[in-house]
């Protein structure tokens, strides 16, 4: 069955849909967590610490977090690899362009492809920035998530990178969520409107929720 | 020309295959008497099938299922595109699901009578018997026929018959049936039992030692002309309505396969029997390349009329009721707008000839739904005819809910074709003709929803049973190769013909000749024919033919994809077939079915059949281009349905 999945274009789309939905679930949780920053350093840092102790005493310190990280890495890799392979297949299937070209024809595909690449690069940046601190523009301290975030968004280019990425995320989710539903076969004429609404609401909420953090820092509400 | 008219009457031709006995038992008897081919030996036999329409597609699939090696051809890029796909109305079957008094015998009776007593009873009865099996077969294949809420099949009445025996799939019955056959064929192609050659056109028949042993065909992509050999050849190449240039046939439907077979010895029967369909969209100008039919079901609710006065050019809505002539209702009060196709067509022609036609060029009559919309409401009319109205509007840019439709008759179907016996074998042993390509079941006029029935009956059930007998009786034929002198000769002739077309370097396009021939045929061999008109046509055709070879211009070469060459080569055959059609029409000095001779009509202008003199099928034998053919008559015996003069008044 795994072989059938991976060998088929429809199967690879399924892999993308499932991995995409996993990431989406994670993002919802991530966004809710992020918003705690509006309740002050204490609560935010406490939350950050709690992430490492979830599941104790059954799980050891950071086990749950690592488990989530592993799942996420697998999802990202599966999503990206499928996307890359499918894109190559798509480009090969349409080697010559129409002389009279219509831009609308490839709008969704283009946003997904370029948006996907932007998001992939952003994830690397984001991990190096706020998880490891490697590229953090200010003074990065492990265990002080609140200060790291505020320090980060005090630099204009962090804001630009972050906001651009979140806008790309919104567009990606907008088409991606609905698309995943079609790939998994849950779409129908009756449900189409509902699915599109959910996709739009999710995209909007996540974008707004994530952007609220740098905006908070920039406006001084969070400092 | 005089030489061509001096045809000789040869020995009568008779069907020797239909067994004697009660008509209802003949098919069983024949199937029992026919020899069988051992299943293990079948794959050693190759059968060529030309065409992939309802008849060819179903035959190819079925023969392959039986174990034969089938080599099949179509000129289209895919077998799914054969012109059967355009049939709209439906398919008849004597299922009697409505319990409305239908039976095999009634379908048999209606078909013989509808054909104006010029069809063979044995064949027609078999067709009616098989009709019920066809529906079963198609449903099993997944053909999405219209159904009722209970999940059972829906039927409608069609073409003036009083029972509801027509099964349909909206207005696309032909498409759905053809796709069913195409899918069955595809399964056999995948299994390796059918070797399919799309974009390949048959250009001649190979006859060796008096038997059909193969064909010459051209690959339309590369231009390569090749020979293909077999133990039997089946022609399922459709009708020849495109002789008229404008018809409801597909642009590339052509007569080359049947005409070349005729030249190689197969008799051509009743070539003058052509069906003119009354409800087509009128032409809009000289640019017209083909005509589009609209289902005749429209006549169930639409009223046909023209203005009373000649040359009345007022728009329809400005013509008051008492200045309109609902001529069908006036002349045929009991049948009104539902008279058979030939009568409706001729009546339209008459009023237009009187100068009362409507629309551009005065070649049209109104088909008005205003009353129907008032009576049933626009919603109901939309539900019933919506797709036809849309099609009409797309083509004419007129809204038929607001202004009456304009219709005019157009060539639609050819009842004539290669003469075949009960086994569907032509006069060339080993050459079979099925579907519209043969002349068998419709006599002088085909009833609505019967073409699909006949095509599938021939392909699924008749031919696969009868061809066994031929193969079993001729089990060990010597293999034929490309080196055989007869093969070389046919190949050389074909190459020479195409070479001449390419070399002619004239100044007229193939289409210009086709159009000229078509106009001539429409005028003199169309809806109404006269002795003098047919003689005029017979004088003119050889002149056009002569001019054709002198002035034809075909660009490009033969070794490439060359659509002009394809066209020109088809016209070569139309120019000969047209002559035979006119001769047949001239010799048949009676009116029957689709063939109306003005000299032979009753006092009130109805077609007058002359059974004593013309109660036969006319099978013509080819003797040479421009030389008189030989007429062989097949006497038609009516034991069950006794000839009566049709009356629809």
């Amino acid at each position: 069955m795994a072989r059938t999945m991976w060998d088929s274009s429809v199967g690879k789309k399924t892999v993308m849909a499932v991995s995409g939905l996993i990431m989406l679930l994670y993002l919802v949780a991530h966004m809710i967590g992020n918003l705690k920053i509006y309740f002050g350093a204490g609560e935010f840092n406490h939350y950050a610490h709690w992430l490492r102790t979830v599941g104790e005493p059954f799980m050891h310190y950071e086990w749950t977090l690592w488990l989530i990280r592993i799942v996420l890495v697998v999802a990202v890799v599966a999503h990206a690899t499928s996307a890359y392979q499918l894109s190559r297949r798509d480009i090969k299937a349409r080697p010559s362009k129409y002389v009279h070209s219509k831009p609308r024809a490839s709008y969704a595909t283009r946003t997904m492809r370029w948006g996907g690449v932007i998001l992939g690069l952003f994830i690397v940046w984001h991990v190096l920035d706020l998880t490891t601190g490697t590229v953090h523009p200010g003074h990065f301290q492990h265990g002080h998530a609140y200060q790291n975030v505020v320090g980060d968004f005090s630099h204009w280019y962090s804001n630009v990178i972050y906001i651009v990425a979140m806008l790309a995320l919104g567009l990606h989710i907008r088409h991606g969520f609905w698309s995943a539903a079609q790939t998994l076969g849950v779409g129908s004429r009756a449900r189409d409107r509902a699915l599109k609404t959910v996709a739009n609401v999710l995209a909007l909420l996540l974008t707004a929720g994530f952007i609220a953090v740098p905006v908070g820092v920039m406006t001084g509400v969070v400092s | 020309m005089t030489e061509y008219l001096n045809y000789a009457t040869g020995e009568p031709v008779a069907d020797t295959k239909a067994p004697a006995g009660p008509v209802g038992e003949r098919w069983d008897t024949r199937r029992f008497e026919a020899k069988l081919v051992n299943p293990a030996n079948r794959r050693k036999h190759t059968i060529i099938v030309v065409g992939t329409g309802l008849a060819g597609g179903s035959a190819g699939a079925t023969l392959a299922e039986q174990g034969y090696h089938v080599v099949q051809f179509c000129y289209q890029d895919s077998p799914r595109r054969a012109h059967s796909i355009a049939a709209q109305g439906g398919i008849n079957a004597a299922k009697n699901y409505r319990n409305d008094g239908d039976s095999i015998h009634r379908l048999f009776y209606d078909t013989v009578k509808g054909g104006d007593f010029r069809a063979r009873e044995s064949n027609v009865h078999r067709l009616a018997q098989i009709s019920v099996e066809i529906i079963d077969q198609c449903v099993a294949q997944g053909v999405p026929f219209a159904r009722e809420y209970g999940g059972l099949l829906d039927t409608r009445s069609f073409g003036g018959v009083q029972v509801s025996r027509t099964f349909y799939a909206r207005g696309q019955t032909g498409q759905q049936l053809l796709l069913g056959a195409y899918q069955a064929l595809s399964r056999q192609i995948a299994a390796g039992n059918v070797e399919m050659h799309p974009r390949t056109e048959m250009l001649d028949l190979i006859v060796v030692d008096g038997r059909a042993r193969g064909i010459v065909a051209r690959d339309l992509v590369t231009g390569r002309i090749d020979t293909y050999f077999a133990d039997a050849v089946v022609l399922a190449s459709g009708g020849y309505g495109n002789v008229f240039y404008l018809s409801t046939n597909a642009m590339n439907s052509n007569a080359t396969a049947v005409w070349r077979a005729h030249r190689r010895g197969a008799y051509f029967a009743n070539p003058c029997f052509t069906q003119i369909h009354p409800t087509c969209i009128p032409r809009t100008g000289d640019h017209q390349s083909k005509l589009t039919l609209m289902s005749e079901s429209l006549r169930n609710d639409g009223r046909i009329w023209v203005p009373r006065a000649k040359g009345d050019t007022r728009p329809a809505h400005q013509i008051p009721e008492d200045e309109r002539d609902y001529y069908l209702e006036r002349i045929y009060p009991s049948f009104g707008n539902l008279v058979p196709r030939d009568i409706a067509s001729r009546a339209a022609k008459n009023v237009c000839d009187e100068g009362r036609g409507v629309g551009p060029g005065g070649q049209g009559v109104y088909l008005d739904f205003a009353d129907a919309i008032r009576r049933m409401g626009r919603k109901a009319v939309e539900a019933k005819y919506g797709n036809l109205f849309d099609m009409y509007q797309r083509i004419t840019d007129e809204d038929p809910y607001e202004v009456p439709m304009r219709i005019y008759p157009a060539v639609h179907y050819t009842m004539g074709g290669l003469w075949v016996d009960y086994d569907l074998q032509t006069t060339v042993p080993g050459l079979f003709a099925i579907g519209e390509a043969n002349f068998s079941d419709h006599g002088a006029n085909r009833l609505g929803a019967s073409a699909l029935m006949q095509g599938l009956a021939d392909g699924y059930f008749v031919l696969p049973a009868t061809i066994n007998d031929y193969l079993a009786r001729n089990p060990h034929q010597d293999p034929v190769t490309a080196e055989h002198p007869a093969v070389r000769e046919v190949l050389a002739e074909t190459e020479d013909r195409l070479g001449r077309l390419l070399k002619a370097a004239g100044d007229r396009t193939p289409d210009s000749f086709h159009r000229e021939l078509g106009e001539l045929m429409w005028e003199f061999c169309g809806m109404a024919r006269t002795d003098s008109g047919l003689r005029k046509a017979l004088e003119r055709i050889p002149q056009i033919r002569e001019e054709f070879w002198r002035r034809i211009k075909v660009p490009g070469t033969g070794e490439e994809f060359n659509q002009s060459l394809e066209k020109a080569n088809r016209i070569v055959d139309y120019l000969e077939l047209a002559e035979l059609m006119c001769l047949d029409a001239l010799h048949r000095a009676e009116s029957c079915g689709g063939h109306f001779r003005e000299e032979s009509q009753t006092a009130d202008g109805e077609a007058a059949r002359r059974d004593e003199e013309f109660g036969y099928a006319a099978a013509w034998e080819f003797t040479g281009t421009s030389t008189a053919p030989v007429l062989h008559k097949e006497d038609l015996v009516f034991e069950y349905v006794h000839p009566t003069q049709r009356s629809y008044a």
């Binding site: 009279h100 969704a108 076969g185 779409g187 | 079963d136 997944g142 995948a190 994809f561």
Partner: protein, 249 residues
């Protein structure tokens, strides 16, 4: 009407192609698009040039042979086949670009003619019900709910023209394949081969080099028969179901 046509000319599959410009005059708005091309071709033949090759046959919108991309749209600006497109959709003086279907799986044969045999092979892979002639039960033995019959018909309407592939930025054949899968899979007659059908047809579709679906919806917009985009969703569901079942076996 007077028009300027820019037409893709390509001698054969191996040759390089390019757009050529032609002028046609005296075009009536009642002409179909193909009749307009007939006028061009008559003109070209008489002037000793090679006429433009294009596929066409029934010219009533049902055979699926005609296949032109007109000003970037498969079958042109209206939702119909090229043969049913009329010149009244254009203005006097217009410049019209005419190109063939473009997809790796549909190589150009000449000018505007492409090879669509890949579609036939997809059908051969499983787009049928195995029902040998003579083996059929009585037609009324299995009633089919009207809704299912209508659903099947709606998908069976596909004419196999390939506009979906031509319009898809990925050259995908999902809409074509799904139309046949859905037509047969919903019917009781198609049930025994329900799983193998969808797996084999999708497999063949991939093998032919068609692209994957990114659900842009261009195919459904171009489809002259209105096969809906949700047809693809439905096939995905069938495919997943079949894959699951195959995994269990």
């Amino acid at each position: 009407m007077k028009l300027t046509l820019r037409v893709w000319r390509q001698r054969d599959a191996g040759a390089e192609g390019a757009m050529s410009t032609y002028e046609v005059d005296g075009i009536s708005s009642d002409m179909s698009f193909l009749e307009m091309l007939d006028v061009l071709n008559e003109q070209l033949i008489l002037s000793g040039e090679d006429p433009v090759a294009f596929d066409h046959d029934c010219r009533e919108g049902i055979c699926g042979a005609c296949s032109l991309v007109i000003n970037g749209d498969a079958h042109g600006p209206e939702r119909t086949t090229t043969c049913q497109l009329h010149m009244r959709s254009f203005q006097d003086g217009d410049t019209i670009d005419i190109e063939p279907w473009r997809a790796a799986a549909f190589p150009v044969i000449k000018d505007l003619v492409v090879d669509r045999s890949a579609f036939d092979r997809i059908i051969q892979a499983g787009g049928y019900v195995t029902a040998p002639t003579g083996a059929a039960p009585e037609a009324h033995a299995t009633p089919v709910p009207k809704a299912d019959a209508d659903f099947a018909f709606e998908h069976a309407e596909c004419i196999g023209c390939g506009a979906c592939v031509a319009a898809c930025p990925n050259g995908a054949a999902m809409l074509f394949t799904s139309a046949k899968v859905n037509h047969l899979n919903v019917l009781p007659q198609g049930a025994p081969e329900r799983e193998t059908r969808v797996l084999d047809m999708v497999g063949q579709m991939d093998a032919e080099g068609f692209g994957g679906c990114t659900l842009t919806g261009e195919c459904a917009t171009a489809c002259p028969k209105g096969i809906p985009l949700v047809s693809i969703t439905r096939m995905n569901k069938e495919w997943l179901r079949a894959t699951r079942k195959a995994g269990k076996r």
